[in-house]
């Protein structure tokens, strides 16, 4: 199974990541995805997570073809 992982704003600059495709086995957690993609860098405390374009607490079961996004607190408007 594979998942698309997106990064926005300062996270892109910080980790040099924009969009990654990650293969995973059932039962993998979001923090494990994070570790895999960032090579075990510390996840910022203020991070926001969206799964399939909906905010998520991060405590979910990932499915094949899900899209997960990591981004900092928003600053629009």
């Amino acid at each position: 199974m594979s998942i698309k992982v997106k990064f926005f704003a300062n996270l892109r600059d910080q980790y040099g990541l924009t969009e990654e495709v990650v293969d995973f086995n059932e039962g993998i957690s979001i923090s494990e995805i994070w570790d895999k993609v960032t090579n075990r860098q510390k996840m910022p405390e203020s991070i926001m997570i969206a799964i399939n374009m909906e905010y998520s607490s991060g405590d979910v079961q990932l499915k094949d073809n899900d899209e997960i996004a990591f981004f900092p607190p928003v600053s629009g408007g």
Binding site: F8, N10, A69, P72, V74, S75, G76
Partner: protein, 148 residues
Amino acid sequence: MKIEIKTEAFDPLVEQQRYQASLDIQGKYGATAVFIGTMRDFNEGDIVKSMTLDYYPGMTEKHLQQICNTAAERWSLLDSLVIHRVGVINIGDPIVLVAVWSVHRGDAFDACRFIMEDLKAKAPFWKKEELEDGERWVEKNTSGYSKI
């Protein structure tokens, strides 16, 4: 109800006028509450030269639509319009327009402010400010209900 992301500069008054003219609510609305957010030349004590607004195509529109749906459930509204700029923004450029039409002013005011606050708190947009000596990401928005 309309949500739009603009990659080019826009005139909020022209958009408001045009959208209103397209609605079939003549004689029905008594109240229009509008908010326009505009690019300032300073922020947190520093001179800002320009700004780049990033967003999450797909999720941003979806979230704005959810905000407007929630407002329409919570208040008695005839229509609402939200336009938000992305890309490179210059001093004095409009960034966001929120316009709400209702029979009564209470609903229009409440809904307009709710949409704006929710957009500020949760809509996936990120500002990078170009300063005189470099650039920085805006860390987060503060609440419009209490001053910092």
